[in-house]
Assembly symmetry: C2
Homo-oligomer: 91 residues x 2
């Protein structure tokens, strides 16, 4: 499962869409999109674009949210939200 | 159910946290957070803050994502992602 995780960051959304499509084309049946903070909305966009436009036989089968404590450059601790979106291909 | 929907926009996250807490204090057993576009990450933050800090006997029980077509100020159609996060209080 870990191998199929794509970390969504600040690049254009189509980069992540392409990464998901590539995983499916290489034979994966599931891909996990993981994002934190402001990138969360980009992960949702990527999942929706994959499902609606590029891999019609795929669907979002699970979405989890959670919180992680991170340390900023001042060594202060701050909380950041995480989203994990599981996209699976129906056989 | 519709009455318990809170639309998350561009205000500070604590405004939405307070709105959820108020709903629960007024006797609701469930609150739906709904956001689109860039506000999606703020809705996730609000849900996490409610669950972890303010209403410990609540939990996120369902998350749905979808796409809506909207018309911008130039009358051009564009797609926007939506998230709906259901927070429920255990009895």
């Amino acid at each position: 499962m870990e191998n199929n995780t794509i970390f969504v960051g600040s690049k254009p959304v189509m980069n992540y869409v392409l990464a998901v499509v590539t995983q499916f084309n290489e034979g994966s049946n599931s891909v996990l999109l993981r994002a934190r903070g402001k990138a969360i909305s980009r992960a949702v966009d990527a999942a929706e674009i994959v499902r609606n436009r590029f891999v019609p036989d795929s669907d979002v089968t699970d979405i989890q949210i959670s919180t992680e404590e991170i340390e900023n450059y001042n060594h202060e601790k701050t909380n950041v939200s995480i989203i994990e979106i599981l996209i699976e291909k129906s056989e």
